[in-house]
């Protein structure tokens, strides 16, 4: 912070705050979006916008239910809305039990 100067009231309050004191900071919301989850079709299912895998959601099991429930990749992941409403019945947590979900054969 030594090299930064607050330019509005909120930043000034933050600069005055003693964040190292217990209770000074409180988390109001935890974002549960998985690391690397894409909000656009580029990156694609297999590759990120650079053509590699580095920018993808990893591991894929972290994002699998989001893809499933939002029908985001209907050609790659079963969709919950139309075709495969009970795909994840057998598996509560894909990161733990990923091998319990199974392939679908349309």
């Amino acid at each position: 912070m030594n090299h930064l100067r607050p330019i509005n009231r909120k930043a000034a309050a933050l600069a005055r705050a003693r964040l190292d004191q217990p209770g000074a900071a409180r988390a109001l919301m935890l974002v549960d979006t998985p690391y690397g989850c894409s909000t656009q079709f580029a990156p694609g299912w297999e590759v990120d916008s650079s053509g590699g895998t580095y920018g993808l959601c990893q591991p894929i099991e972290r994002d699998l239910y989001d893809c499933y429930h939002s029908c985001y990749w209907p050609a790659q992941v079963p969709d919950s809305l139309t075709n495969f409403p009970s795909w994840t019945k057998t598996c509560g947590s894909p990161v733990q039990d990923w091998s319990q979900v199974d392939l679908v054969f349309p």
Binding site: G52, Y72, V77, P78, T90, Q96, S99, V104
Partner: protein, 659 residues
């Protein structure tokens, strides 16, 4: 962690289930309950303009009259002037009229305005079973697919444009296609699916509605559903709030055309239901005789070229039995037997089995008959993602002698007394050398027998003979494959240029990748890596993996899998999170595949350097005449390999032999 329950329900089992896979689980699927007959009513079907085809070339005299079909007077009136293809098969009518309304002229709603490949019809039928409670037995489903593929199928020319899709090629790019088409359709699936269908304008329009109903997110994702720019260019800053609200309301009522609308309008013009070619095919249709012997040449990645025969026998009641006899470059001989179905007068679909040697136990066959009925080309394939393919070309066996070059044939220039193995059918005597020709600068000096259907030619290649591929002729016969005349190998190249694999082994088997090294010549311009360089022959390589660094401390190479040093076959790592990796990443990543080749090749002297001050010389350099000293050389090349995540839907599960 929630406990995992017992085995999944029907639509997500680890094996095709009777309900979802009714079409391709013929033998073991339990009997399905046929649809109950609808209440009796007058058949609203007029006589069909043309009777449909039945398998085996019989004309089907069915009029399409079926009792108990529901009527929809409104739709009838609407469809009166809409040209469509009548559906006259009693089975198809009885199954489909549960939902699809009969219309004037023997038409059925939606079905009469579509033409598709057998694979696309099969997908449609599976969707009807999955989503619309179609009750159908496997035998009935096969017959419905057969009828629709024959009578509502693609023409040969159209099927050729969609051939890569049904061949299930892994290495295929849609990059050359129109950008809006790629964005609207290719974001989710291959454009081959689009190429697999022809529709009338109304049906193309309804395709969007179907997608939006099934996959609502498609509107914003792939279809760019903002319509005509989404407000781009509107000067909101100078508008009042009321004006902006008014603009929004107008826009809501009349959103304009989005990207998908524009694409579908173009498809309606470019890929209509009726074309002159389609009319001509209908008028000229007759059964193509497929029985008999076919001469096979092909290439199996990693194992080299193959030659052989396919014997086709017609079955009673339709379909064919097959016997493949294949001889590999490595000396292995394989016999495969199987069954096949021939659709729409041009599309061969089969499946063969073999228990011998390092062969896939089952190979699926997708072949396209040529316009003149004399040849077929296509792909034999296996693998979880259909990635293990053999490209094949088949020529109909004729009574005249037929010759072909043995696999990987190449001749050095200059060179006296080189041998060239030739496969020869129907030649009881050893023919004279003068009957063979390889063009200018190459002369056949002698011929001897090297086996029952094999000859060995002694060939002289004169200094200065033009390099490149040559066609071997024997009298009026031309060999199907070529022999490459070259002075040396200048470098090696790896195929495929970019490897693709998918992790697997637990949830789903992996997608393998196979690499080969190609010996290349620098071509007539004398420069390496230019457009005129030509492929000479496949060369044996030693294979290894290297890191493809895209980030600091990149460590993909430790996890993605392993390549077989001798065969060039890459096997990816297991699927699922890997606790040994940062963030428990999957075993995905990018690596390089390295090929090393040691060969004894002629050393070509460096061409004299051009004098920059003199006038530019536009003529091609004269190749040195030789003979050249043969030296041992080390060649190396590398290609990127992408190891990807699995796909969780197996859209392409077909069991052809059970059709």
């Amino acid at each position: 962690m929630l406990a995992c329950r017992a085995k999944p329900a029907s639509e997500h089992s680890s094996a095709p289930q009777p309900d979802a896979g009714a079409i391709d689980t013929a033998a073991n699927a339990p009997e399905q309950v046929a649809a109950p007959p609808a209440p009796s009513s007058e058949a609203p079907v007029a006589a069909a303009p043309s009777a449909p085809r039945a398998q085996g070339g019989r004309r089907d005299d069915a009029t399409g009259e079926a009792s108990g079909e529901p009527k929809s007077p409104g739709e009838n009136a609407e469809a009166k002037d809409r040209p469509g293809i009548p559906v006259t098969d009693p089975l198809v009518r009885s199954k489909c009229t549960v939902c699809h309304y009969p219309q004037e002229g023997g038409k059925l709603s939606r079905i009469s305005y579509l033409r598709k490949t057998p694979e696309a019809w099969e997908l449609s039928l599976k969707r009807m079973v999955r989503l619309h409670q179609l009750q159908i037995t496997p035998d009935e489903a096969r017959e419905v697919v057969r009828y629709l593929s024959d009578n509502h199928g693609l023409t040969r020319g159209e099927a050729e444009l969609a051939l890569h899709e049904v061949e299930r090629r892994v290495h295929w790019s849609d990059a050359k296609e129109d950008k809006e088409l790629r964005d609207s359709c290719g974001d989710c699936h291959t454009l081959g699916r689009v190429a697999s269908e022809r529709r009338d304008a109304e049906e193309w329009k309804q395709l969007k509605a179907t997608h939006m109903a099934f996959f609502p997110l498609a509107r914003g994702q792939a279809f760019r559903g903002d319509g005509d720019g989404g407000g781009a260019g509107v000067d909101f800053a100078s508008m009042t709030e009321a004006e902006i609200d008014e603009w929004r309301e107008q826009r809501r009522r009349n959103p304009g055309k989005d990207q998908a609308d524009r694409v579908l309008e173009r498809l309606a013009k470019e890929r209509p239901l009726f074309t002159p070619e389609w009319s001509s095919v209908q008028a000229n249709w007759r059964p193509a005789p497929m029985e008999g012997l076919w001469i096979v040449s092909g290439h199996d990645v990693g194992r080299g070229d193959l030659r052989g025969t396919l014997e086709v026998t017609a079955q009673n009641g339709g379909g064919y039995t097959t016997r493949w006899s294949l001889n590999y470059e490595d000396g292995a001989s394989v016999e495969r037997t199987g069954k096949a179905v021939f659709y729409a007068g041009h599309s061969w679909r089969g499946r063969s089995q073999s228990s011998a040697g390092p062969q896939p136990a089952e190979l699926r066959e997708v072949l396209l008959l040529s316009e003149d009925w004399q040849s077929m080309r296509g792909r034999l394939f296996a693998g979880e993602y259909n990635e293990l393919g053999i490209d094949v070309q088949l020529e109909r066996a004729v009574s005249a002698p037929q010759v072909d070059c043995a696999p990987n044939a190449a001749l050095l220039v200059p060179g006296a007394g080189q041998t060239l193995e030739v496969l020869a059918r129907g030649l009881s005597n050893v023919p004279a050398a003068a009957e063979f020709s390889l063009g200018q600068g190459v002369s056949v000096r002698a011929v001897e027998r090297a086996g029952p259907e094999r000859l060995r030619l002694t060939v002289d290649v004169a200094p200065g003979a033009r390099q490149g591929a040559r066609v071997l002729t024997f009298g009026a016969q031309r060999a199907a494959t070529q022999v490459v005349v070259h002075d040396t190998l200048d470098y090696i190249k790896i195929t495929p240029e970019k490897g693709l694999a998918r992790i697997g082994g637990k949830l789903r088997p992996p997608q393998l990748e196979r690499f080969e090294a190609l010996g290349m010549n620098r071509g007539a311009d004398g420069e390496l890596y230019t457009a005129d360089d030509f492929f000479v022959k496949f060369v044996p390589a030693r294979w290894s993996l290297e890191e493809f660094p895209v980030r600091e401390d990149d460590d993909d190479v430790k996890f993605v899998g392993a390549i077989d040093a001798a065969s060039g076959t890459f096997t990816p790592g297991l699927d699922g999170p890997n606790p040994a990796r940062k963030w428990s990443n999957n075993n995905v990543g990018e690596v390089y595949v390295r090929a090393r080749v040691t060969l004894r090749v002629p050393q070509i002297p460096e061409p004299p350097k051009k004098d920059k001050k003199s006038k530019p010389d536009t003529s091609l350099p004269t190749p040195p005449a030789g003979p050249f000293e043969v030296v041992e050389k080390e060649f190396t090349a590398r290609a990127p390999l992408l190891v990807m995540v699995p796909i969780y839907v197996d859209w392409d599960r077909y069991v052809w032999d059970q059709r």
